[in-house]
């Protein structure tokens, strides 16, 4: 027999490791992805894409395609020139930024391999694909510009000839006297790090369906940002916003790659209008690799200045950031999101930063998990290890001497951000303990001593990051076109069940579960009684969507606020029903009662029914128990943690294997530990992937050589160790949940931990750096080069 718990024993939902509500449905296929949608009469679109990285379009002839069986229409960029507009950039980071036009289908020039130049619309996908070869495009080849340094060289071929430069912008930031800090320092190190280009590879490819419906259009897309997309579609095409409905059905991952307004989305809308028929497009994996925006791609020149005792004096960072051929939704803003994070968790006197955005003839870059902050964290955490080596100091000790101590919070750092809370000492102590740091150092010494061909390396990353994007005021100061608030509606239905509409649209994060937990606690209703609705601008017209580890911190807070308003309203009605003063009515575990006298009480469900019936409402209380709230944070949130990585490096082959990995993260208060764990695991996998496996490679003509999964290596669980994870909990102060955001932390932290470990293993051989990804051949060559430098063959 199980005892029925009485109300007083109600287990709080927040903090429970609930399995995700959405998983049974997703895992058993009882869901619909965009590609599963087939409105009656749908037509299929396929794109003719540029085989050249750069070329002038002399002519496009689609007539051959029109003659093919099943083909309904075909258009060149020129055919749609009058209506297709220019794809938007919402983040022009400087007043004088060079911001080229970006037609969804190229009209005069192509500027990356894969850029769309024409489209074929047919009755089925096969007919559309077959007809592509019948479209004739005549190009005049122009020189490709693949490398950033080459793009900036005197006399370099121009990506946009009319702009007269390949430099899009220069964005500077300075705090403190950097010249004095560097001149006065006892040790100055200069390093160049390369952030290779990465290809986001969400499990679900991009797909879009658009159908004319009534006087308007419904557009389904595998997008992270249905709300932003709706605004932008209206602005780009001139179709009035209120006639456009955007739906993001279940979306199978994005990692930033679906935080975009794509050519295919705009064109789907225009084609549906032109043809007055539903149209559909789904990318192939190779098409996705070639045309979905890429991530990272920076060259970082980093100077760090310190005293011999390890005290940091200053940091100077000069970035080249590869924009690719065009500026897409937030392309130029990505490196700027990193600008404030280079100082990391450390105190120093001065910091100077500049970023030059560079055009090349490659697919544009844009947000990719972490967006600017992984790049920054990598640079500071890598160079801290180099500095420790230079000073002959344990890298953990160097960090301890410089980090912000827990009693110093809130702390405004040299990067200008105010870190609200944190405890680096505690997270590090826990990580050191779980990792067995001293034992591993001892083993490392033994292997070095014995000349073991398999060397052990230990890497450290004590990171923080800024997330919970974002205070609208700050976004405005940084020239971003929109705000960073989030919206929620909480509706109690007449039968006492709850619908929550969130503007933060999930694409795999588990909002339905976490939001239900929050609402269950706040309204005192069962978890199962809450349903979360999202991703449809008709159901929830207001929202800023999901990216930048913002959903819980910003969107979750909006839900909390909306719940508070519901409770406030219900309290007034309950007081009326209890014939008591509002000020005397308490709300506990879903029931209202007069303070000090628990009976009689009235449940919030009964209040909801009374509000629905509206037979007897007190003065000033409107019918229906529901409320809206929007939350705009005052500050970012700052998760932090300490990650320790041990790698084994086979010095004979260059192979690196991750032997153990400990991640102790502080993401503030946790709503659902299982979801947090999942985010950390996935984040680690992606960060380790950058360190060891992934790299978009182009040849000198600008062709992407890694356009399949056989060549672009995504690791699987078989390539990764069992992660050891733990958490410390220092509540955030900027939101009532005390949460900090966890979506990107694992990716941000792990890349430098792994590369630091690789270099640590090889330092006795004279190796001071290995470019990412640290693939076996590169490690082997680094050893070889070091041996040659040291005057002997290995």
């Amino acid at each position: 027999m199980t005892a029925t718990p009485d109300a007083a024993e109600r287990v709080p939902e927040i903090g429970r490791a609930r399995r995700r509500k959405e998983d049974a449905r997703l895992l058993t296929g009882r869901t619909r992805w965009t590609d599963n949608l087939d409105p009656a009469g749908v037509l299929h679109v396929a794109f003719v894409r540029s085989p050249l990285a750069h070329g002038a379009i002399r002519s496009v002839d689609v007539s051959g395609a029109l003659a093919r069986p099943g083909v309904v229409a075909a258009f060149s960029g020129a055919d749609l020139a009058a209506e297709q507009g220019s794809l938007p950039c919402a983040w022009p980071v400087t007043a004088d930024i060079v911001l080229p036009d970006h037609p969804p289908m190229a009209v005069e020039e192509v500027r990356y391999v894969g850029e769309a130049v024409a489209c074929v619309v047919a009755r089925d996908r096969y007919a559309a694909a077959d007809a592509l070869e019948a479209v004739e495009v005549d190009y005049e080849p122009l020189p490709a510009v693949v490398d950033m340094a080459a793009a900036l060289a005197e006399g370099a071929p121009l990506v946009h000839a009319d702009k007269g430069t390949n430099r899009s912008f220069v964005w500077p930031f300075e705090s403190g006297d950097i010249a004095a800090a560097v001149d006065g320092a006892e040790v100055v190190l200069r390093r160049r790090y390369r952030q290779q280009r990465l290809i986001p590879a969400a499990m679900e490819p991009r797909a879009v369906v658009c159908a004319p419906e009534g006087e308007g259009f419904t557009l389904w897309s595998s997008t992270q940002v249905p709300h932003i997309l709706r605004v932008m579609l209206a602005m780009v095409t001139g179709i009035p916003e209120h006639l456009i409905r955007v739906v993001a059905p279940d979306v199978g991952g994005g990692f930033g790659s679906k935080l975009q307004v794509t050519a295919e989305e705009v064109l789907a809308l225009l084609l549906a209008r032109r043809l007055d028929r539903p149209v559909k497009w789904t990318e192939s994996r190779t098409e996705g690799f070639q045309t979905t925006h890429h991530g990272r791609d920076q060259v970082q020149d980093v100077t760090i200045a310190a005293d011999r005792d390890g005290r940091l004096r200053g940091l100077k960072v000069d970035l080249l950031a590869d924009m690719g051929a065009y500026l897409m939704l937030i392309t130029p803003g990505i490196p700027i999101l990193g600008a404030f994070m280079f100082p990391g968790i450390y105190k120093m006197d001065a910091y100077a930063f500049s970023c030059t955005g560079v055009f090349t003839t490659k697919v544009p870059t844009d947000a990719y998990r972490g967006a600017g902050r992984p790049e920054a964290t990598f640079a500071i955490e890598r160079i801290m290890d180099e500095l420790a080596a230079e000073l002959g100091m344990d890298p953990l000790e160097l960090r301890r001497r410089n980090w912000i101590r827990h009693e110093e919070f809130p702390y405004t750092g040299v990067g200008g951000l105010t870190y609200d809370s944190g405890d680096y000492e505690r997270a590090t102590a826990r990580a050191v303990e779980l990792f067995g740091y001293e034992e591993l150092r001892a083993e490392q010494a033994r292997r070095r001593e014995a000349g073991d061909p398999v060397q052990l390396g230990i890497g450290i990353s004590t990171y923080t990051e800024m997330c919970g994007l974002a205070p609208s005021r700050v976004l405005g100061e940084l020239s971003y076109a929109a705000g960073g608030w989030e919206h929620a509606s909480v509706r109690m239905l007449p039968t006492g069940k709850v619908e929550v509409v969130t503007g933060s649209t999930p694409h795999g994060q588990g909002h339905a579960t976490a939001w239900s937990q929050i609402v269950a606690d706040r309204l005192g209703v069962p978890f199962e009684d809450v349903r979360v609705l999202s991703g449809d601008t008709q159901v929830g017209p207001r929202g800023m969507d999901t990216y930048g580890s913002r959903s819980l911190v910003v969107g979750g807070t909006a839900v909390v606020r909306a719940c508070e308003r519901v409770v406030d309203k219900a309290r007034r009605l309950a007081a009326h029903l209890l014939e008591a003063d509002v000020g005397d009515v308490e709300f506990t575990d879903g029931a209202f009662a007069v303070r000090g006298t628990p009976e009689p009480s009235v449940g919030i469900q009964a209040v909801a029914l009374a509000a629905f019936a509206a037979h007897d409402l007190p003065e000033g209380v409107e019918p229906s128990l529901d409320s809206d709230a929007a939350f705009d944070p005052d500050n970012f949130s700052f998760p932090h943690g300490t990650h320790l990585c041990a790698v084994e490096v086979d010095t004979e082959t260059g192979r690196v294997s991750v032997r153990s990995y400990v991640a102790v993260d502080d993401v503030g208060k946790v709503v659902n530990p299982l979801i947090v764990e999942g985010q950390v695991h996935g984040g680690l996998a992606q960060g380790i992937a950058q360190a060891l496996y992934e790299e978009a490679v182009h040849d000198a003509e600008g062709n992407l050589l890694t356009s399949t999964m056989a060549d672009y290596l995504l690791p699987s669980s078989a390539d990764l160790p069992d992660f050891v994870t733990d958490r410390t909990e220092t509540p955030a102060t900027g939101n009532p949940l005390g949460a900090k955001g966890v979506g990107e932390a694992g990716t941000i932290a792990s890349t430098p931990a792994v590369v630091n470990a690789v270099v640590d293993a090889l330092r006795p051989y004279g190796v001071a750096d290995v470019e990412m990804p640290c693939k076996p051949e590169r490690v082997w060559r680094a050893l070889w080069d070091a041996a040659a430098r040291n005057g002997g063959a290995r």
């Binding site: 996908r125 096969y126 694909a129 077959d130 192939s284 190779t286 004979e652 082959t653 192979r655 496996y693 490679v697 050589l705 890694t706 399949t708 056989a710 060549d711 290596l713 995504l714 690791p715 699987s716 078989a718 390539d719 693939k775 076996p776 051949e777 082997w780 060559r781």
Partner: protein, 285 residues
């Protein structure tokens, strides 16, 4: 997958397959597990007009004891090869190498015949066929013939089979009692293709190597027998030192490619290191 249009036939006998191929002429392709062919169709790098699917032909599938030989039907899947007790008993090297091919999903569909007929120099099984002295049985409109593995692989993705011929299976001589085997595969992730692979077989006598066989994967357009290293290994002691010394010649006959995954000089280095390891492992197991 959005391939170009093609016709599809699924005969239920070998004779039917040969006839279908003869009828369709040079624009026909055999379809086995599809794990190499379908990617080519998907990327429209192959445009066959007819696919002749071997999946319905029972006689091409399975492993059988055949007197002095082991018979392995061409359409036997990697999974079946891996779990065949006959294979484990008579040519364990094949089982070991097959275990490293791709991932379980691919191994359930891909076939041994497809792997050999495709003749991808990065494929793991051609070098194994070479080391094991396998004979390739081929059927065509002009009848049946048998080719030694050494004569079967002609060039990059090219075998000695003529258009219209079907690989029906391979015969592996049952001469491997007393040999130790190892397949050393060097790949960048668990599921990726070999950068370099080494198939080694070692027969031991009196604490020394009596005879060694070495086959190299992805060290040229075709699988390579490392004969210089084999001779150097013969007579060597079983310790790591002498075996490594022999392995220094592992790349002598190779002409490795330079590609995205490795430059030729690194491949040569890997072949030497991995051959040393493969010989040591084969000698001890």
């Amino acid at each position: 997958m959005i391939p170009a249009p093609f016709d599809y036939v699924r005969p239920d006998s070998l004779a039917g397959a040969v006839a279908a191929l003869a009828e369709a002429g040079e624009d026909a392709k055999v379809l086995a597990g599809g794990q190499s062919l379908l990617p080519l169709l998907r990327m429209r790098l192959a445009y066959p007009e007819v696919l002749v699917d071997l999946g319905g032909i029972a006689e091409l599938r399975g492993v059988r004891d055949d007197g002095d030989f082991l018979w392995i039907g061409a359409a036997t899947t990697h999974y079946e090869v891996l779990h065949s007790s006959l294979v484990r008993e008579h040519c364990a090297l094949l089982a070991r190498a097959t275990a490293t091919v791709a991932d379980p999903a691919v191994r359930h569909r891909g076939t041994i015949g497809g792997s050999l007929a495709h003749a991808d120099p990065a494929g793991d099984l051609p070098a194994v066929a070479l080391v094991l002295d396998a004979r390739m049985a081929v059927s065509g409109p002009d009848g049946v013939r048998e080719l030694a593995a050494a004569d079967f692989f002609v060039d990059y993705l090219t075998t000695a089979m003529d258009d219209g011929e079907v690989l029906t299976g391979l015969r592996v001589p049952k001469v491997w009692a007393g040999w130790g085997f190892h397949y050393e595969k060097f790949a960048r992730t668990a599921q990726s293709w070999a950068v370099v692979g080494v198939a080694a077989a070692v027969r031991e006598r009196d604490g020394a190597v009596a005879e060694a066989r070495i086959g190299l994967t992805n060290m040229g357009a075709v699988p390579v027998r490392a004969r210089a290293a084999e001779s150097a290994a013969a007579g060597a002691g079983l310790a790591a030192g002498p075996l490594r010394a022999a392995a220094e010649q592992a790349d002598a006959e190779a002409a490795p490619p330079s590609d995205l995954h490795a430059q030729a000089d690194y491949r040569r280095h890997l072949a030497r290191v991995l051959t040393g390891r493969a010989l040591a492992a084969a000698a001890s197991g």
